[in-house]
Point group: C2
Chain length 188, copies 2
Amino acid sequence: MSRWEPNARGRLEQAALDLYRERGFEQTTAAQIAERAGLTERTFFRHYADKREVLFGGSQLLEGLFVDTLAGTPDTVAPIDAIASTLEAVAAFFVERHEYARQRQAVITANAELRERELIKLASLSAALADTLRRRGVGEPAASLTAEAGIAVFKVGFERWVADDGGRGLAEFLRESLDELRTVAAGR
Amino acid sequence: MSRWEPNARGRLEQAALDLYRERGFEQTTAAQIAERAGLTERTFFRHYADKREVLFGGSQLLEGLFVDTLAGTPDTVAPIDAIASTLEAVAAFFVERHEYARQRQAVITANAELRERELIKLASLSAALADTLRRRGVGEPAASLTAEAGIAVFKVGFERWVADDGGRGLAEFLRESLDELRTVAAGR
């Protein structure tokens, strides 16, 4: 990059979120996002492939956090307990981000294309977790089912946290969600 | 419809699947599918919105089967057991369809757009199951988690059945998958 553009990604992300909330996702262009962020359209496309991707800039980081944390738990820990520790680490990542998460979720919920992209993100996360579990020696179908269960817990807990007033942390919602899954699976 | 076109949907579906396997999804047009099926392009678009939808013509039927079976189980049955009965009924729907399912899955796996559409189908199924459970009086987050767990079991069991030689029925794979989820959730 030739020009000094401090935190260009963060500025584009916030500008995109503001415009999507004001005008809707469909009605916003990459050029408008760049303008609002005080950057050029060229800068926009240096950072993001299209206007959908702006809201998913953190996905790779989140996947890395999931995978690294899971890979770092001792092999002697049961897979579901390793997932529980992983969710604790992931929750820490979202501390102080409730308001942003709430705004982002509202924009995603309102648009089919963004909902699809969110599903792809979660499917990719699940595949990465299953892969990590297999490398830890977990067989199939246990690895895939543990990964799918972990992502289900994350999805449901995250949605409840976002819908809440922000008084309780994500970690609490994820723990509650995992406990509920255990109860449900036990047939109670 | 003005002309008599016996089993037009089935013919279009089979023609599409054959062409996607021969040439790839990207390289096939709706007109070519219609031609292969001995029908007009206009007939194609009377039945399907686009070439992606041809492989998802059974989704509504499948969702109806899931929902009706689940809604029909007695309220006294634990949610996860109601899901188990539902999966048995769903498995019966796929008897004699292993070869078709195998071919369809191979086409979907090879194309990102089709994989996305499959994710949307599964998310829609999960939402419909959660809704049905709530109407049965199951609270949240139990309803959403049971639904997500049920779809995870279906997805993993289905993929294993498709990858197998067809000697064992889908019901067996779904049962095995649900048992494994219970074991995993119990932390064993």
